[in-house]
Point group: D2
Chain length 321, copies 4
């Protein structure tokens, strides 16, 4: 039987954490349930962490994490964006607690001056904000319209106030039923760079995100349920180096002892060696696609459209366009 | 003895309210004390409202209102800006309650997309924000540095959340000792357009400001003292029309009965007539100088520099530049 | 027979110039032809100046000037915007010389930091730029697509280079068949504030525009035909004062000699007197609606949509949205 | 004697090209002269390509390329910025042709929406633009002030016009004596990421820059001398992978045949293998520091301050601050 050890590295993606913890084991990580589904070009992976042991091994709180992988999103194909929008809308609807029947507050984390971290603010710009309209719109529309508010605290620049404090203050004052936090994530795998969306009903936890999110946004800290939607917009340079060595070693495997020695070291020792040798040079560097600016906009379009549809199921699309 | 009637028109400036209520009377408005001083090119007028009757007549809460008038500010003379900065720094220091020894939160009201309303956000950009630095700076500096936070809620665009709610939430979470609210004001007199700063220890009250501030920021609503700093950035088109008629009538006074008839009508009847005739056409229009963008920046420089000096009396100017 | 005198005041609108020159005369200004048409809620006035005398009297070069007036545009009604878009598209198509079958260069004049002057840059942002696509799109589309380029020299900020020099340089290098210049105009009448579009086949002439356009853009200066599209975004404060006095005097006419004296003075002497008395105080001030920022965006939507339709008659609307 | 082969890979930095072409040879690349100097913490390397053979081997035109390396610039130390500013000012002065006594046009290449490519526009924002002031300033200052113009064509977004065409048009119209082009570069070495400035008297050549510069800016294309100032703001992910493999292999050299096999392959075969294996996965990805936004601003401050000093040697620093 496999001997699972708690995860050592940091990744914002539950699916990556699970793959790392599981390694080559032929059984599932204890306390974790994983479910795959392919919907046209979108691969849907549902990771559920349902025991304390699972949470400990995965380094993540119990809850549901749905990953939507669209490997070719970076090709900027409009039909892919439409497919992702459709699937994402359904998944968001699915994870919104049934008890939520009042205001939803969308929080766009991140700093809009740094492109890979600007996803949150750009989604917020595109959200259909309705909370302030309830006194203005006709009754007919009002009945079908959910009150939605949206803030992007990072566009305020340097304020001297922690994001959590700002959001907590706003939540305490406006009493939303649900907070949806949108954030840019760092992934370990190149395949997920601008090609992967994670939705989690556990909120956002310290250390996540592309910038430095020092404090989490969760039911514990805010007092209301927090749905987190994240997109991988950067990969740490360290991961690239590891991947490069791995790929190259595999190619040279027949001729070279290198691969075997690496294999004998075991994956974690091997990573330890690389960490030691490369960390100083590659720490703090991140990898992004050249067209990051366009891709962030594409993704912001998809997320905002999906959120608008999921949050306003009783409004016709033409009523807000 | 003069028969004072409560003010009918709206003005954000206490000095203008007093001039209107007083009219041609040769005595001061009851419950109001006014004090003039000239400091080089800056005219300092201190209006104190100290009784309920004064507050009722003036349409403003009891408290101190200091107006600094610099009629030639629009000429963009650097030495004028320096003089105003010096005087303003002293006045701000003077109005900061002595009990304030912890965090000060600077709030820049207004929307940065509409130039005349962008003063608040532009001041916030220039504020020396220190609250997040206390764990980082050397003890020597830390002792001399007051924690300052700064937010400009209007730069968030349409959020569906009232400014007051957002600020109240942040105040409840971060517990500042004092809020300083910076706002663009509408004045009645052309002479005050981008040439007049008002500092008041009463906070900001509903209906003030260039945009629609629906709710006030004050000790009552926020639970901490609120110092309000306002600059006239627009004049209502209505005021221009009144002023034009007034000036023209004076010029024609010798030849024309018009002036006498206007005089006989009494000032308020006369204004009532103009309101009736012109309101529909001129309501909602405002007057700004052509170089509004540059002037707002000049003023933001002066306000931010004055605030930084007043809030950090123990830091040397070179330590933050 | 009326004795027409050349226009003394400046207005960017041909229709206003004609009304001023004509005054109370019961005949048309010589060398000028005027034609009215109502298309639903859009009033179309076509002014043609066809002799040297007409040009001299009107203070404008010979050519066609079409004004579209939509008095209630400021009410922000979507159907009004659609009507204006439809009419404007037709008028632009009509004024594009038939010989134009290659690149059209859209130039958005003005500075995007000053809201009333930001119309040009905001239109440029929304233009369907196709000139760089000709090597990329399928032949089928390429055949139906007109190459369009678009620049907004004022967004470059302070460059030390005259707008005309920059545009002339770009024209000489890229050889467009037609330049379409979009500009914010100053009107004399409140009714035209954000409610009036002028299209002229004469280009833009010195002194026009809300900012300081020191040099014109015309066939003479650029060597290619220039279509000018202008929208009134400000009214000079001076005009407001005149209008106020005029309206008030009319109201008081029965009781007051003022009106009669003004009448006896004759309109131009009367204006001369006001100029003398008010110019110093009101010069350099301009009047804008409170919601100027939203209205400029509404108008930019209408202009860009009309231009895109007029310039791409063979593309289906869905092909660029 | 070493057998030098023309460079195969692309790098914007002459110093890197020389190191690659030279490889392990113990002699200098023919037609190339290299000169090192240390000025406090700034390492100055002067590469001169002076023969056709040198140009062919290096893949760069004949001319002078000065590299200033400041390895710890990413630590954000103010004194390092001051040292770099001092050295850079001198080097720019040195490379400005003595015949230049009239207008200098500073061109900031790049797109300000994509942080690593925004260096050029951010430098332009900070340039002391004086060309439009000559009629305004007092004669005393005018005599000492060089006319400087500055444009950042990329801030216009999609215009449909090639940058070269726009700049060429402006140059033909305004006749500057010198163009200084500021650009963000891609380097191969991590050590140069936001820590290296290259000044070249050869202009900018196709394929350089972080974005896609399809055409060069040079004396040939513009008709006036072009000084190019570039800063490495990204490193291709491919280079990271190579560097990682190289470092790791060295560490494992004693135990492992891998290094020897790589060695036997020869550097270029080895790179060829990596290209083949990794190119598809890493192509189009780039590496930037996490704090890219702050670092770009630091560098823009240094470049603009150095340019202002070098271009205005007869103005006192206090006259423009």
């Amino acid at each position: 039987m496999a001997n699972f050890r708690p995860i050592q590295v940091t990744t914002d993606m539950a699916i990556e954490a699970r793959d790392i913890v599981r390694g080559d084991a032929h059984e599932e990580v204890p306390g974790v349930r994983v479910d795959h589904k392919q919907d046209q070009q979108v691969e849907i992976t549902r990771v559920e962490i349902f025991t304390d042991e699972g949470a400990h091994l995965m380094g993540k709180p119990q809850g549901h994490y749905v990953t939507l992988d669209v490997p070719h999103f970076r090709d900027r194909d409009a039909s892919l964006r439409q497919e992702l929008t459709r699937v994402l809308t359904d998944q968001i609807k699915d994870l919104i607690p049934k008890t939520v029947d009042n205001t939803v507050l969308v929080v766009g984390l991140g700093n809009w001056n740094a492109t890979p971290d600007a996803l949150g603010p750009r989604v917020v710009e595109r959200i259909l904000v309705t909370r302030h309209l309830s006194d203005i719109v006709p009754d007919d529309i009002k009945e079908r319209m959910r009150p939605v508010a949206a803030v992007a605290p990072g566009v305020l620049g340097t304020t001297g106030i922690e994001t959590l404090d700002m959001i907590k203050g706003i939540v305490d004052e406006t009493h939303p039923d649900l907070v949806i936090a949108v954030d840019a994530l760092a992934a370990r795998s190149l395949d997920r760079l601008l090609g992967s969306v994670q939705i989690a009903d556990t909120g956002i936890h310290p250390g996540s995100g592309v910038g430095n999110r020092r404090q989490g946004l969760s039911q514990e800290s805010l007092g209301v349920p927090v749905l987190a939607i994240g997109v991988c917009t950067v990969v740490q340079a360290m991961s690239i180096a590891e991947e490069a060595v791995h790929i190259l070693a595999q190619q040279l495997a027949d001729d070279v002892k290198f691969y075997k020695i690496l294999e004998e070291l075991g994956e974690s020792n091997q990573k330890g060696l690389m960490q030691e040798v490369l960390a100083e040079r590659l720490g703090g560097l991140m990898v992004t696609p050249k067209e990051i600016d366009l891709l962030i906009n594409d993704m912001a379009d998809v997320l905002a459209e999906s959120l608008n549809r999921a949050l306003q199921p009783h409004l016709d699309r033409s009523e807000w366009a």
